[in-house]
């Protein structure tokens, strides 16, 4: 694609760039980031994003607690992470600067809103001197721009209040960044039309602010060049940008369609899973029923009711919600009904870090219930992957008549990436069987099993199949309540064998890299991107490293121990204190090394990279 510069200044071509907008939670930084993402995707870049915001909706203005950020990495080649260090940082106030500066590369571009650096602002951020003038920012390419003043001037004459004028500041910042990275304004102009159509004066103000920021870049002498990132070479197809929670919702709708079922979601509002509820409730015309329950427990038990009713039933929550659903999940295991339980993990324990990411629910997903209570556990690795994993979870649930846990995390749920829109012919139907009715009076056996040990999914309303299920132990085959010791042992073992048997239906584990070597990096969930990138780098350096990313956490793929055994070292990178490592050790007696982090943030590539180097350099001195 030929590019024409929209500017008279020199245009420098880059492979990619990482930009972060940060400001008060009311400054519209999420919007700025989203617009830059959409625009970058539309010009053909690969993109990965990382929104990072506080749990408070509006923390006190100008404070560090209220800083909200949105990071986007756009590139002309495949990328898997939102980037480690930032090439350009936009800081709307001193608090945003002080909390984000550490991530800006030396020599990086720093755009600050000069007007926010007043005495109060500096004090709130803990500055004793003004960093814009005290020389402390000399190592950066810093531009202090009077964004507030320039925005007000730009929208003058529209009759807006000062407060309304200042609300356009994020569009000014966007305009400037768009100029800096040679991005077209059209998608954002279209967005403004759509979003502010009912308030023409606000629409016009935002347009003017956007253009003012853009012109500012072109005009101001201090900024003497700008950058172009050519399109990435993605596989052919139609693409759109998609967030993890959206992709998950689409995956659920698709799975329902593919199995010819209505979709029922039982949910209770909880960060960061609520968007799944918001998203699904928009699609009632796909025969989607959403039930906002009185609590997490009701959300889960209503889901059991809907599953008993013969439909595709899902409940979505985060870690604290899973804790509350534990009892219902036990009932789902006991009644052997198919359903999906989504856990969008966040920092814990307890309320923990609601808006931050973590992977510390794995053992809860595996074992957080009374009794021997196994369930298949799957994890999505990226925003777009949520679409596929949702369908896979449902396929396993109905094939084995079992609840399935689908894990994502805050990072995947809110992050976004380009998604190649599938052709409908690429989607695999999900086969669901219900026993047919009978009037011949034969006694129905609700716990008779097929070769996968799945019991029949007999749906109320079907003649001759009336039966009772419940939480008390059941006699195998008949489903009658049974306290018989040997039957209980048999049933516990049968439920375990059924879930273990899922391994027969899932693909063998694949490796990214050679099938043997010095080190294999094992990951699950969100760290996929950082690990894949770090391993690729190590491979380019000539290190004998491969990447093993797990989608299936229970059961593990059959060949996993064999694969891991072919490497001298096994490194497991996860955002907890070593939960997968515990499972791998317990299961296979493999003494894996852990790379663990619990800071509410995803891994950076550099962190994984450094750990790989550390292990391999120790290895060479053995």
């Amino acid at each position: 694609m030929a590019t024409t510069s929209r500017s008279a200044k020199p245009l420098v071509e880059l492979e990619g760039a990482t930009v972060r907008f940060c400001g008060d939670s009311g400054d519209g930084m999420q919007l700025a980031g989203t617009q830059l993402t959409t625009t970058s995707a539309l010009v053909g870049n690969d993109v990965a994003t990382f929104p990072d915001f506080p749990a408070e909706i509006r923390a006190p203005r100008g404070t560090k607690a209220g800083v909200s950020g949105f990071q986007i990495h756009f590139s002309s080649h495949d990328i898997y992470t939102p980037g480690d260090a930032v090439d350009a940082l936009v800081a709307m106030n001193p608090a945003a600067l002080v909390t984000n500066l550490g991530d800006l590369k030396p020599g990086g571009i720093l755009l600050v809103n000069r007007d926010a650096f007043d005495k109060k602002g500096l004090e709130q951020a803990g500055y004793t001197t003004d960093p814009l003038t005290d020389g402390s920012l000399n190592e950066y390419s810093m531009h202090a721009v009077e964004m507030t003043k320039l925005t007000r001037t730009a929208v003058e004459g529209l009759g807006l209040s000062v407060k309304e004028s200042d609300r356009c500041r994020n569009f000014f910042a966007m305009g400037l960044v768009f100029w800096l990275y040679d991005r077209p304004l059209d998608p954002t102009l279209r967005y403004i039309d759509e979003k502010f159509g009912r308030r023409p004066e606000m629409a016009e103000a935002n347009r003017l602010a956007l253009k003012a920021g853009n012109h500012y870049g072109e005009t101001i002498e201090a900024i003497n060049s700008h950058y172009h990132v050519p399109p990435a070479k993605l596989p052919p197809g139609t693409y759109r940008n998609i967030k993890g929670n959206t992709a998950l919702a689409y995956g659920l709708i698709t799975a329902a369609r593919l199995s010819n079922k209505r979709l029922f979601l039982g949910a209770y509002p909880i960060t960061p899973a609520s968007d799944i509820l918001h998203e699904l409730t928009k699609y009632k015309h796909f025969d989607v029923l959403t039930f906002q329950a009185e609590d997490e427990i009701a959300a889960a038990t209503a889901t059991i009711g809907a599953a008993f009713g013969g439909e595709m039933a899902v409940t979505a929550t985060s870690g604290p919600g899973i804790a509350l659903k534990g009892e219902a999940m036990g009932l789902a295991v006991m009644t052997e009904l198919p359903m999906i339980i989504v856990d969008v993990q966040r920092g814990g324990p307890s309320t923990g870090l609601p808006t931050k990411t973590e992977q510390a629910d794995l053992l809860q997903a595996m074992f957080g219930r009374n009794g021997e209570c196994p369930m298949p556990v799957l994890a999505a690795r990226s925003p777009a992957d949520c679409f596929d994993v949702a369908q896979e979870a449902w396929r396993i649930a109905v094939r084995y008549m079992t609840p399935v846990i689908l894990m994502t995390d805050g990072y995947i749920a809110n992050g976004s990436e380009p998604w190649r829109v599938p052709d409908l012919s690429e989607l695999t139907p999900v086969e669901v069987k219900h026993p047919e009715g009978t009037s011949n009076g034969d006694h129905f056996q609700p716990y008779a099993r097929d070769k996968r040990l799945a019991r029949p999914w007999a749906v109320p309303g079907t003649e001759g199949l009336a039966h009772r299920i419940g939480g008390l132990e059941k006699q195998d085959v008949t489903g009658n309540v049974s306290y018989d010791p040997l039957n209980h042992q048999h049933m516990v073992e049968t439920r375990a064998a059924k879930v273990a048997g899922v391994a027969d239906d899932i693909p063998l584990q694949e490796l990214d890299g050679p099938d043997r070597g010095d080190l294999v990096v094992v990951s699950w969930g969100g760290p996929y991107g950082a690990c894949a990138t770090a391993v690729h780098r190590a491979q380019q350096r000539g290190q004998a490293v491969s990447h093993c990313h797990l989608r299936y956490l229970n059961p593990f793929p059959r060949n996993l121990p064999e694969i891991l055994g072919r490497f001298k070292h096994v490194l497991i990178a996860e955002l907890n204190l070593g939960q997968l490592r515990k499972l791998i050790r317990a299961e296979y007696l493999i003494d894996a090394i852990g790379l663990n982090k619990v800071q509410g943030k995803p891994f950076s590539v550099a962190e994984v990279d450094a750990k790989i180097d550390e292990i391999l350099s120790q290895g060479s001195t053995d």
Binding site: F264, K284, I297, A298, G305
Partner: protein
């Protein structure tokens, strides 16, 4: 050619499952089970379209004894299970069987939300004022001072009154009956089955092992005419062995008056189960022994939109407005680009 299109009519016995009923001999639950089977047979219910959902407790074993579909779920959660089922399957007749501990203690939250949503389900609360299955602890309906295994010095928490709660949630059908008053119980369960919306029925049920005689005042042949009052729509509230006593409103307060002596029937409170405001029903639910006769019968029976109907109606409306959902359209919503 003639075809017999009449449906086979089921008898009460057809609704019995093949499982042995394991309640204690003499338990009030037996009578409720028997009446339920009769009522179902009477209204022409089918086994396959009827579902019993329960929580935990003695009463919650009920579904196992019915040859219908059933879920014996977890403690307190039956209304929520029923909500999920009824939402996706409005065609089914869904009954929730619960007890005073199950419904009002651990499941209080689900109960009030089910009632306020007005799903078309029937909730039957077996109130024995005790925890039976866990062997005799006080329940949320046990009276103050009640000595039990967990309250050796007497209960110190004020009891809940199931019907006051149901009416507080603006329940559309609220009724009470007594396990041994089988004719009345059958009538009330039948009315509940007929009602479209959440039908909430409290049944005074005797636990002869852990709380024997808790309702004797309302059940004993010699006292019941004076300690209970049968509600009839449009009729004055009259009670007593000689039908010579009535309830009159004195301002906002009910009072017991004797008929004659200047008090006419027309001076009495007339029952109106269809009153759109729940105030009268609430007032009746507050009438407690021994100050007042306790009302039995239908306190309230009004119509209001039902959750299960509305949730499915929204799907229909969305379809009419947006057309049947198309995956291609969904996937391609918003900004897209092509890579060749």
């Amino acid at each position: 050619m003639s075809t017999d299109t009449s449906l086979p009519v089921l008898t009460p016995a057809d609704f019995a499952s093949d499982q042995d009923v394991r309640w204690c001999p003499g338990c009030g639950d037996y009578s409720i089970l028997a009446q339920m089977k009769k009522v179902l047979a009477g209204i022409g219910a089918t086994r396959e379209k009827t579902v019993f959902i329960s929580g935990i407790g003695c009463s919650s074993r009920f579904p196992y004894y019915m040859n219908t579909y059933g879920v014996h779920s977890i403690h307190g959660r039956a209304p929520a299970v029923a909500t999920g089922l009824k939402s996706v399957r409005p065609d089914l007749s869904v009954w929730v069987i619960t007890g005073d501990g199950d419904a009002l203690s651990i499941g209080g939250n689900h109960l009030i939300h089910a009632i306020r949503r007005n799903l078309d389900i029937n909730i039957v609360l077996f109130n024995n004022r005790i925890y039976g299955l866990t062997k005799g602890q006080y329940s949320p309906t046990s009276p103050l001072g009640k000595v039990t295994n967990s309250t050796p010095m007497g209960a110190i928490d004020n009891p809940l009154h199931p019907l006051s709660i149901a009416i507080g949630c603006e329940g559309t059908f609220v009724a009470r009956s007594i396990d041994t008053n089988i004719k009345h119980l059958g009538y009330v369960l039948g009315r509940a089955a007929e009602h479209r919306g959440t039908a909430f029925v409290e049944v005074y049920q005797n636990c002869n092992v852990f709380n024997d005689g808790a309702w004797d005042y309302a059940k004993a042949r010699e006292t019941k005419a004076d300690t209970t009052i049968e509600l009839e729509h449009g009729k004055p509230l009259i009670f007593g062995k000689n039908r010579n006593k009535g309830i009159r409103l004195n301002g906002m307060e009910p009072e017991v008056v004797e008929l004659g002596k200047g008090v006419k029937e027309d001076d009495l409170l007339f029952h109106d189960e269809k009153s759109s405001e729940p105030s009268l029903a609430y007032l009746l639910s507050r009438m407690r022994h021994p100050e007042f006769p306790e009302p039995i019968g239908v306190f309230r029976a009004v119509e209001r939109p039902r959750y299960d109907e509305l949730i499915n109606l929204q799907v229909e409306e969305a379809r009419e407005k947006k057309g049947e959902g198309q995956l291609e359209k969904l996937f391609l919503a918003g900004e897209t680009w092509s890579v060749s």
